[in-house]
């Protein structure tokens, strides 16, 4: 060993752990400051930090950084989707069928209007379909953070969670199915076009099922009073996230259906009261910073009119979908309107979906990303604010 080899080489590179730590601190310092103002949600603070550090600001977070942090972002989304999956309670659907109907109408109408609008603007059908399918999902991360921060609780909150879980399942599976057409469109062999979506969807569902079964079994081996159940559930969630990415399944589908299976198979209530979601906030904060970093005037411009029209059409569809069913559901018309507003945000999940498609076919992905990113850019700041507003107006947040 030479003289000074023990010293780090210069310029030193941040490793992923340090980077995560720094972003976390930055997020909560700024988020706290914004939150203190009392007007804006903390999430908005996270996004602003991202914009400051991203390519429209100091340019500290670039795409290489994002790639490094991807495993941690997978954890963030995975844990949250697992929690959301557990909100998809089919027993509730059986007792209030209109809830199921409103989920289907808002998903279909949101898709149809966004699809139609993009076609009208002259976008090719496949692209329009893919973007519209991504738009079926509402950001679970935004809803999660806002409800936690405001201690929101009530019918609007519960129903929003249920709808976001369900529209997530529909969106993720539709996007994967559309991959088949994308493959064919790009000249891939039929076998690939059929097997790839099948691998992703069926694989994810099977993995989610195995995860749920084994988690319930393992939880049954331990005492309810100990903390071990929490550790088991969290451990199994992380394992599932890891396996899903190793096996090239969809982390989103896997974890969401993992949660759904757990909720609907846990007849002995083994893990019903286990709250792994409380750990999600830390990871999610960094997710919002990263999402903020990827925004810029440039992305907004690139998306342009298409992104704007897509965003409006999607929202109109979702809002109408919920409102049409309002007279029949247990929520009442006024609260249903607020519920429609809560379905507005798009964020991290949409980015991940667009990125995944772009990785397969960069050229196709470019336009798709422009539209989706443009929409995210529009909503990243507005979405959390409207969600918080809706929950406040519905009087479901804790009094301040």
């Amino acid at each position: 060993m030479q003289d000074l080899d023990f010293l780090p080489s210069f310029p030193f590179e941040f490793n992923v752990v340090a980077l995560f730590g720094i972003l976390l601190v930055a997020a909560f310092v700024a988020g706290g400051a914004v939150h203190k103002s009392g007007l804006l949600p903390r999430v908005t603070g996270f996004t602003l930090v991202g914009m400051l550090l991203g390519n429209s600001g100091l340019d500290i977070i670039d795409s290489a950084t994002v790639l490094k942090l991807r495993p941690l972002l997978d954890i963030a989304l995975g844990v949250v989707l697992f929690e959301f999956g557990q909100r998809l309670d089919f027993k509730w659907w059986r007792q209030d069928r209109w809830l199921a109907v409103s989920c289907i109408t808002e998903s279909i109408l949101g898709f149809a209007l966004a699809f139609g609008a993009l076609l009208y603007l002259g976008q090719p059908p496949l692209l329009a379909g893919m973007a519209a399918a991504i738009g079926i999902s509402t950001s679970p991360a935004v809803l999660w953070m806002i409800t936690r921060d405001t201690h929101a609780e009530g019918q609007l909150t519960d129903r929003a969670m249920n709808l976001v879980a369900a529209n997530g399942v529909i969106a993720f599976i539709t996007v994967s199915m559309l991959l088949a057409f994308l493959h064919l469109d790009q000249g891939a062999p039929l076998r690939l076009a059929l097997l790839h979506p099948l691998w992703v969807v069926a694989g994810s569902i099977v993995l989610g099922f195995i995860g749920a079964r084994s988690t319930l079994w393992l939880a049954g081996l331990t005492s309810k009073t100990s903390d071990s159940r929490l550790a088991i559930v969290l451990g199994m969630v992380l394992t599932a996230i890891g396996f899903a990415s190793v096996l090239h399944f969809s982390v989103l589908i896997t974890l969401l259906v993992f949660g759904v299976f757990i909720k609907n198979m846990d007849h002995e209530h083994r893990v019903a009261a286990v709250d792994v979601g409380r750990y999600a906030s830390l990871f999610l904060a960094v997710l919002f910073v990263i999402a903020g970093a990827s925004l810029s005037w440039h992305t907004l411009m690139l998306g342009g009119l298409a992104a704007l029209v897509y965003t409006l059409a999607r929202f109109a569809g979702k809002f109408l979908g919920v409102l049409l069913i309002a007279p029949f559901s247990g929520l009442g018309v006024q609260k249903s309107a607020w519920l429609g507003l809560v379905l507005l945000p798009v964020s991290g999940t949409a980015l991940v979906l667009a990125e995944d498609v772009a990785r397969l076919y960069p050229q196709f992905g470019e336009t798709l990303r422009a539209i989706v990113l443009g929409s995210v850019a529009l909503l990243e700041l507005i979405g959390p604010i409207t969600t918080q507003l809706a929950l406040r107006m519905a009087r479901e947040t804790r009094q301040t």
Partner: protein, 374 residues
């Protein structure tokens, strides 16, 4: 008309109010479901019988006025079924029980109504800790003097109702070692306790006017006594009971109160005596803490006995009156429970022992309330 004019009611008619816990179905914590639940129930034929309470995680069921135990029970069952049905639509649950087993009082939210905000303003954290769940039984009285007499007589039996209805061993996820921890939350209020020793309605009215002049109270509602006359309804209101875990038990408690009322107003076995109140807090504490095993000192004879035995003896004594009123089946429910050494509190403790999870206790408590007994 003066609010203190005693409205005459049919002799020994009865009505019941039950405060219920509104729960989410994930971890069975209290949840702010009352506004939505009340909105749905507002579309049902029972809309006038279900009311908001101080907290958004609480609703109150009110029965109509009844003369017979079986009719009361029938109505309470119908109310229970309707509430359960509407809860299903909202993915909520309701449960009996005097306290929520693990809820943190600081998370409580006050229902958005002027009176409740005033209470919250006045009592601070006590208002939130007051989120406990009780059963009130109203007994119709022909006049105010009878009502005053009956309040004094029933005071002797307060420990009975604590023991029979006790369903609150847990508070803030701890076993309190009490048979009814709910009453500890009520004791903190300045106007809790018992009615002063007055001998007639005129005397009571004078007392009330004095308190009103001092500005201590604004209306009868401000007295949180264990038993109080309710001139507007023409009743004596027994407020000591925890909400039991089933409607069957709630109806049985009302039948017992009715039989006691009938016995006292018919036989008038004792002259009212302030001695009852010398031992009042001792006997009351014994019941709260130890349940049926608690010690009771009879204020009229000075004899010591355990509360369980005293209940059985009293049930025997008033059974003929229950038969007159066709309420004997209700009394037998209570008798059986004491003989078998059972109670709702015991059931809750046993369930925790078996399930090892406080969330599961509340889940099964809700199931017990919502599912008709087979």
């Amino acid at each position: 008309m003066d609010e203190m004019d005693f409205q005459s009611s049919p002799h020994m008619s009865m009505g019941v109010e039950l405060e219920l816990q509104v729960l989410n179905t994930r971890d069975y914590n209290l949840t702010r479901g009352a506004p939505d639940l009340l909105r749905l129930l507002g579309k049902t034929p029972y809309k006038d019988l279900i009311k908001p309470e101080i907290a958004q995680s609480m609703i109150e069921l009110n029965s109509s006025i009844h003369h017979r135990y079986d009719e009361l029970l029938l109505e309470l069952k119908a109310l229970r079924d309707e509430v359960s049905r509407q809860c299903g639509k909202l993915n909520l649950a309701v449960a009996g029980g005097g306290t929520h087993a693990f809820h943190q009082w600081s998370e409580q939210r006050i229902f958005d109504m002027p009176r409740f905000h005033q209470l919250s303003e006045l009592y601070g954290y006590l208002a939130k800790q007051f989120v406990v769940f009780g059963q009130h039984v109203h007994l119709g009285c022909p006049n105010g003097d009878d009502a005053v007499y009956l309040v004094h007589m029933l005071s002797r039996h307060i420990p009975h109702f604590i023991v029979l209805s006790g369903s609150s061993p847990f508070s803030q996820a701890e076993d309190t070692a009490f048979h009814s921890a709910r009453l500890n939350a009520i004791n903190a209020f300045p106007l809790s306790g018992h009615m002063p020793f007055v001998q007639s309605w005129a005397e009571f009215r004078a007392f009330f006017e004095r308190m009103k002049q001092f500005g201590v109270v604004g209306s009868m509602k401000d007295f949180y006594w264990d038993i109080r006359p309710k001139p507007g309804y023409g009743t004596v209101e027994l407020r000591i009971c925890d909400t039991p875990l089933t409607v069957e038990k709630a109806a049985a408690l009302a039948a017992y109160a009715q039989a006691l009322g009938q016995y006292y107003l018919t036989e008038r076995p004792h002259q009212p005596s302030s001695d009852v109140y010398e031992l009042y807090t001792y006997n009351r504490f014994q019941a709260c803490r130890f349940g049926a095993q608690g010690n009771l000192i009879d204020p009229y004879t000075g004899r010591h006995t355990d509360i369980g035995s005293d209940i059985l003896a009293t049930l025997q004594r008033v059974m003929p009156y229950a038969e007159q009123l066709q309420g004997q089946a209700g009394l037998k429910v209570l008798q059986r429970e004491i003989e078998e050494n059972g109670s709702d509190t015991r059931w809750l403790r046993h369930t925790l022992e078996k399930e090892q999870s406080i969330n599961d206790v509340v889940r099964l408590q809700a199931k017990r309330w919502m599912t008709p007994a087979s």
